[in-house]
Every structure is written in C-alpha cells, then in structure tokens.
Symmetry: C2
Subunit: 458 residues, 2 copies
C-alpha cells in the first residue's frame, strides 16, 4: 500500500518561487542588520528541555515540541505520572530535548554561555525557524521564521533610536508605506497603575488595557471592575486614555496628570527624547505614535515598548515589536545585562508584500537557455557550448534525451525558459545554430562562432 504523500498540519513545502521571495525578504533584513552593525548567530534546532521549559508560562510550555528520547532511555517513562494525568511530568520522563520555541531564550543561553568571548555591547541578529504546537489555522503555522535583532550590554537611549531607525530603513527598502510604529514605556504604565490607585496590580491592569482596541474603553472599565478594581478608580482612567493630539502633545498632558509619579516622569522623559530626536533626524517611511495601551510582554520589558502595525489597507495587525529589558540571561546565571530587542514578523510581512504586490519581478532565477536535444550528431557541440555558458555564470540546460521537439519546446514553455537553441544535423552541415525566442516566437539562424551569451536578451 503506497503512503499518501502529505505533510503535517501547520507545515509548508516551499517551491523555487516561494524560496526566491523569502530569500529576497531575508536579504533585505540581513543587509540592514549588517549595516547597523548586527552580526548573525545561529543556534541548534533543539535545545535541552531545561533550557526552554518555564520560560514561556504554562501555556508556552505546553506548546513546546519535545523530542522523544532514543533507544533504551524511553524505558524511564514515568507511567505513574501518565496514569495520574500528569502529562507534563510524563513528558519530562521521556524527553531531554525540545525544538526551539523562539529566538530569545536561545539567545539568552548563547550570551550566558559565551559571555567571555563576546564583545559587549553585543549586537546580534538571528533569522531562523521556530516551532510551536499551536492549532494550525490560516496564516498561523507550527513551523515559522522568526527574525530578531538585539543589542545587549548598554543602557543608552541611542539604542532605542537605532532600533526605530532600523524598522524605518527596512520598511523603506521594502517599499512598504503606511507602517505605524507605536511606543509606550513600562514606567508610564507603572505610573498609570499607581495614579488610579493600583500600583500592585500593574500586570492585571495592563492586560485589560491591552484590549482597548478590541473592546473599547467601556469594555476595559468593565473588565477592570470584574477584576476587583474600584469603580471610582477605574473612572480616573477614561480621561487618560482619551488624550488627544500628536505624540508630543499627549506626552505633555501626561506629564501634568502623572506629575506626582517620578518614575512615570522618567518614562515620559525618555519617550520625549526619542520622539524629538527622531523628528530632528527624520524618518523616511514609518509614522510614530504613543500608545498607552501597549503592554506586550510586560513581565519582561522594563523601559520603552515598541509595536509595529501593518498599514491600515491590509488586515494584519502587529508585524513586529520589542523593547528594553534588564534581565535577559538571568536564568542562565548572567546578571545585569540590560538590552533592547526587536523582532520582525517574517511570515506576516511576507504575506503583506505578496498582497500588495511588492516583491520585485524577476527574482526567481530561471534557466535562460535550453539546448534542444537533436540526437547524437550535434550533442558534443551542444554539451561543450552549454559548459561554456555555465562557466560564464549563465543558467542553461540541455533537454536530456532526443524527445519530440514539441515535447522539448513544451518543457521550455512550462519552465518559462526564454530562449531555445537548435543544433541538429542540418545546422551542423551548414555551420550554424538556430536560436528561438520563446516569448516572441521568432527564430533566427546564426553562424556557429557567434557568442551565444550575447544573443540572450529580449
């Protein structure tokens, strides 16, 4: 019984056209990372389970793909745990390795492991696939590419400027207009929580706030009250979230509202510096906003928080984000390394470029010339000419066998090969070859000594 050829849900095969487009996007990212002084690293597909587990919360742990131990080691399976429904403990007993779930934890592990060889501040980028046992759905895959850039080992705000300039440069190079970069600051969020009288409930507060886009102010208020915040406390939030004006105006108003919260004023000061400097320096492509509801990964971020939104014309939401953190590699024993990191949502950006038709034409490298196979007589000359063209870097092929011309021409047609060369007995007798332009259909006879490469343009 033959096996039905198929791939696991949530994974993809990539054809030559897919790969050419994906490489184009990777290349734009790589070039810019390197222009900004970031250097690439790559980490293994699987890490030790203890490196990964406990870093992404319970839900994250469940979504990590684990590798079953090989050979005799599976005999250590904890059957009791299985019987008791303790699936995590059972999994622990039969696995030692797991697939990379993101690039942040492997990077933290890398920095701690090679701390004595690394030159700090360390600027690294990493473009590699990650794997998550998420339920596959449209646009969400179990295997997808992440793309991160981090600078670790310095607290200077110049780095906040640089990561925003980097976003601007990449989207400018991709000719993707309308991208919106939104900033917030952990210290401002902490000030807001304090201002409404809930300094200890920062996380619950921001989780609710984060939903403003979806459920509106009333929804956020309701959620906060459901979570035990007092009604009069919640009422204080409305005027803050309704601030109007551009970023600078919003920050000016916030400064008055949060005047009694020195930590918040620090955050406002930092964002002010960032906005003012970027205004002076000028951004080419992206627009910049303050967004007080922005809280992505707040457990982790300690300073500026950034999120990148797709142009409004496409329904995609976030296509990148990041922020300032203070304890990247603490769990690996490396303390006091502040850093800043951003990521690009590779697959989402890919889909947008596709939707907006922004991939350059002609990025797929196609065979430029097909030698028809005319039989023994002309074969030696054809193979020799073919080798010379390849030597010169031109992509060329010979049809492998002397099939009917119709079949051979159809092969050229289907593979979109623009030129076909014919050198059979007749041509050999006359000392010529025939070149057919597959686009126009014209064909022309040339003396044998004509340099073929010079003829291959439309």
């Amino acid at each position: 019984m033959p096996i039905k050829p198929s791939i696991p849900k949530g994974t993809r095969d990539f054809s030559a056209t897919d790969i050419a487009k994906r490489n184009f996007l990777k290349q734009v990212l790589r070039q810019n990372f390197e222009a900004y002084g970031f250097e690439p690293i790559e980490t293994p597909t699987f890490e030790r389970t203890e490196t990964l587990l406990g870093k992404y919360g319970d839900e994250g742990d469940r979504l990590i793909f684990r590798i079953l131990n090989s050979g005799e080691k599976v005999k250590k399976a904890n059957i009791d745990a299985l019987a008791a429904g303790k699936l995590g403990a059972f999994a622990d007993s039969v696995t030692e390795k797991a697939l990379r779930y993101d690039l942040t934890v492997p990077f933290a592990r890398y920095v701690a492991q090679y701390q004595n060889d690394i030159v700090f501040p360390f600027r690294r980028y990493q473009i590699q696939p990650v794997w998550r046992a998420d339920r596959p759905q449209h646009g969400r895959f179990q295997e997808f590419v992440q793309c991160d850039a981090d600078i670790i080992g310095d607290r200077s705000l110049v780095q906040e400027l640089e990561v925003i300039q980097l976003y601007d440069k990449v989207f400018s190079d991709l000719k993707l207009t309308g991208v919106n970069v939104r900033l917030n600051h952990r210290k401002i969020l902490a000030g807001l929580a304090a201002a409404i009288g809930a300094p200890d409930q920062l996380i619950a507060f921001t989780v609710a706030l984060d939903k403003l886009d979806k459920i509106g102010i009333e929804g956020v208020e309701k959620e906060l009250i459901d979570q035990g915040f007092a009604t009069d406390v919640v009422a204080k939030l409305n005027p803050i979230l309704s601030l109007e004006g551009n970023a600078e105006e919003k920050l000016d108003q916030l400064k008055l509202i949060l005047a009694d919260h020195p930590e918040a004023l620090e955050g406002i000061e930092e964002l002010n510096y960032i906005f003012k400097t970027l205004q002076k320096q000028g951004l080419q492509c992206v627009s910049l906003d303050v967004d007080l509801t922005l809280a992505r990964g707040l457990n982790y971020y300690t300073g500026m928080i950034v999120e990148v939104r797709a142009p409004k014309s496409v329904k995609m939401g976030s296509i990148g984000g990041g922020g300032r953190y203070d304890d990247l590699a603490g769990s690996f024993g490396l303390k006091d390394k502040s850093g800043i990191g951003i990521s690009f949502g590779f697959d989402r950006i890919f889909l947008i470029l596709e939707e907006l038709n922004l991939f350059p034409k002609e990025i797929v490298k196609r065979t430029q010339l097909l030698f028809l196979h005319t039989g023994e007589a002309g074969l030696d000359w054809c193979i020799n000419a073919l080798q010379n063209l390849r030597q010169a870097g031109l992509a060329a092929e010979i049809y492998p066998s002397a099939a009917k011309f119709k079949k051979q021409l159809n092969y050229a047609h289907q593979k979109q090969i623009p030129f076909v060369l014919i050198y059979g007995e007749e041509e050999q007798a006359q000392g010529v070859f025939v070149l057919k332009n597959m686009t126009s259909g014209h064909q022309k006879t040339h003396p044998l000594i004509t340099p073929i490469a010079s003829l291959l343009s439309n």
Copy 2:
C-alpha cells in the same frame, strides 16, 4: 538556581564567522546548481512518521528523532509495548511526527505529492539540515546540513555526464584540487556476482567488496568465505580486483572477463560512454576513475554509482556521492520515475576548506566605521552622518554611550572595526572630524563636509 547554559551533544552554535564561511560554501553550491538548471525546494523540518519510517532500514528507524505528541494525545501511550520492551511500538503510540532524517525521502514525498504541478524532467536541489540520533563524535553531528541535487523523469546518460561535470565545476570554483570521482555500475556488480557464481547474493557480495579499502583482498576473501561463498568461487575475484591501468583499460579488460554476461556489458558500455565523453569535453579539476568495489546504497541504485573522494592530503574519505535510481517515489504511489541524484557532504567539505585555508579572506561582513560617543554635543551630527552611511549600504555603528575613549577604542579593536570617527566639542568648534585608522594607528583631521565614505579604505 541558574541553569547551566549548554547545548545538546552533537549540536552546534554558529558565530558570525562560522556563518559567513558556511554561507560562502552554500552560495558556491547554489550558484552552480542554478547554472545547471536545478531549482531549489525546501521541505518541513518534521514529516509524518509514516513518511519516514521503514525507508532507512531498522538501524535508520532507530536513529530518527521523533516528536512527542502534544497534550492529551500522549494518553494513548502503549504501556504494554513499553513493558514488553517493544520500544518501537511504544514510540509509535506517542509520536506522529519526526525530524527529517535525510533529503531523499522528503524529496520523493514532494515529487509524488506535487506530481501534477511539476514539470518533468524535474531538476531540484535542496540544502537543509537533517537530524540523526547517532552517537556524537568528532566531525559527526546530530544536526548537520545535507545538500542534494536530483534530476527525475528521464533515463538519458547525458544526465550522468552532467552530475559529474557539476562536481567538477563546484570543486573547481572552491579551488579544491585533487578531488577524485570514482564510478561503478550496478550492472557490472551484478555481472561480477554472476561471474563468480553467486548471482543471488549480490548484496552480501558487494557489502564485502566495499571493505576492500580497509581490509584488503585477503580480508574480502575471508569475509566472503565466512558468509558461505565457496573458496574456488572467491578465488576468481582476485584477478578482477587486481585489474591495472586507467579507467578505459580496466573497462576493456572487464569486457573480456564478463563477455558472457550481457547485463554487465551494458554497464560497461555506459561507463565507457561517460568516460569517453568527459575526456573529450575535459574536466577542469577532478580526476575520474573506475572503482569496482564501490557499492554505496546498492539497494537503491540501478545504474551508475558515483563516489567523490577528498584529496589525499586530507584524511576525510568520501565527500559526496550518488547514482542512478529507478524507483524514487514508488512507496508514495508514483511509479516509473527514473532519476539520478548526487549529494555534497557539506560539513566535510567545510572542514577541508578550513584545513586547507581555502575560504576567501574578508568574507565576514564587519562594521567598517565606529563613531565614538563623545557626549551630547556631537551626537546629532554623528547620528545623522551614521544614517547617511548606512543608507549608502555601509556597515557603521556608534558606540551607544559616552564611555571612556579607551573602552570605546577597545570595542573597535576587538570587533576588528578598521576606522573610528571622533567628533566631540573641540571638533565641533573647529568644523572638523577626526578619522583614526585602527590598523595603522594614524589619525587625521578632515573638514566636516568631507564625504566620509571616500576616506574608508586602507
């Protein structure tokens, strides 16, 4: 308790220098594949277990990394199988997916799955990592890159020529001289087995033959006798394996020895054609030989068999190989697709290039210029100049904070950044900047309007 930062045995982290070298090798391979009309495909990291199992023999099956099912699915664990020591059956009960073990089976699956979209003859290449639960040792990894090129859908010998020419071109581009390409043919091996009176024991015969290099003729004879071959039968082998002369002379002698075995004569005829044509066309870099002991993957190959040996000056053995096959995708229900495939031993070739110092200098993309951070005064100008340089495609950085110059210069030194620019209060007052050449140690003052990029060469 911090976790000790480390990676699983048999895996590797790659630094910027590693990656630059690996990309150089990949790029040479890619360019040549594409010049030869091969198009890239990529397949998922994991496949369905039923796609992979049973394709690599029992030993292979044991070396496949399987992914533990997520969530509730592990409850289906076959405890009885575990208790009975049936580890394969236990693994089957808790896994549905497994990591790619090679590129051949995923390619076969791909061809069968997309047979209606693919234009045949289909020329594909694939450069991707694979994973094997082999015991890690020096130069053998659990995660390593494979690199395959196949042409499927035609039986013409022109393809045998092409894959050898491709080997020649790649090693020529890599400037790796002394590579030896050895050819054999399944039909010749079958003829030899028949000639010594053991036509039904072809595999056992070739497995013994394959060890000639290591154990010598006497060792091979002993092994054959141990396996039940008759002594007088084995004695016939000696003169055949002792054939002398160049490839053509060996084939001529073989033709006499195997004159009564028409199938073997076909194989000899094919190799003769290949040798003669390649002699006419000329190979630039590799030498070509007949090697009657060559039997790699004989279960699979049906025509020419090829193996590539590293130059004698390095102890590395095989660095590539392949051959003609007739039933790539039969197990996926696609019959009668003959093809030819070759592979390049990526990691071994990498080690050889390293050992022979064949990687070009300056392939690591380094930051070309570091702006020293001199404090607030000059910062705006520096950031602006920095952005302009990056815009022009130059890799440049500013040290993030106003650390001591010694520290900043040390950063440039350690990162091998060749130029450093200083623009502080003093320079600002004079309308100049200072450029320091980190290699020579010289520094020079330039008017502010000097285009910086024009100064950055030694």
